[in-house]
Symmetry: C2
Subunit: 106 residues, 2 copies
DNA sequence: TTTATATATTGACATATTTAAATATGTTGT
DNA sequence: ACAACATATTTAAATATGTCAATATATAAA
């Protein structure tokens, strides 16, 4: 499978949970510490930590420590890039390269 | 959880698999029957059927029967809408409504 | 160095997803 | 009605995900 599908799918998967998507939305106004994000959900601290790790590992969110706290912020470059790749995938095209390619999976 | 996160996450989840994402890309040039899509992957017919069902149920893809064959095509309205919702979620904002809202999950 | 606070990791469990084999359904042609 | 073909559904197994309780780690303050 072409790398672009794998990488994009990984990002989409990280956002494919309503609560993680909401976290991305929250971060769009600027960085937040884990403690503040945690307050806005009825989940335990380990659950949030796990969710944040997924967002970070997918490359959508950056983390930074300041004292005891970890601050999260969006990786806007990555998100912008992903958004435009997605747009090109939906976009009406006269011909798709992928159709002329041999079997992709396996 | 607000409905927009739930619905958008559902669409993202449908596309969060490399092969389903590639199918969306393939369909962006126009409709294709299941048989043609199947030929471009090394998966079994039931697996493709299951994948297509996910795309259809998420509202990203439409299906239509013509004789023995089922033709799939993108639901461009749904995709365009989802794309713009996503864009707004990443977008830099001075203030997030979601931050002023009480606990969301549970 | 002890204590308190913030976050991460581990272990366990329930649920969901992926996938294929077997089978069923719907459609066309004979 | 029967055979052939295209797609869908069912079943089952392997794997992944979501979640919490318990515990560990990192930092700051006393």
């Amino acid at each position: 499978m072409e790398q672009v599908y794998i990488e994009t799918a990984k990002m989409l998967k990280a956002m494919s949970d309503p609560k993680r998507l909401r976290i991305v939305d929250m971060l769009s106004c600027g960085e937040l510490c884990a403690c503040v994000i945690l307050e806005s959900f009825n989940i335990t601290q380990p659950t949030l930590s796990h969710d944040m790790k997924q967002l970070v590992e997918a490359g959508l969110v950056k983390d930074r420590r300041d004292g005891k706290r970890i601050y999260y912020s969006l990786d806007r470059d990555a998100l912008t890039k992903m958004h435009s790749i997605l747009g090109r995938m939906f976009e009406e095209k006269p011909n798709c390269i992928c159709r002329n390619v041999s079997k992709s999976h396996g």
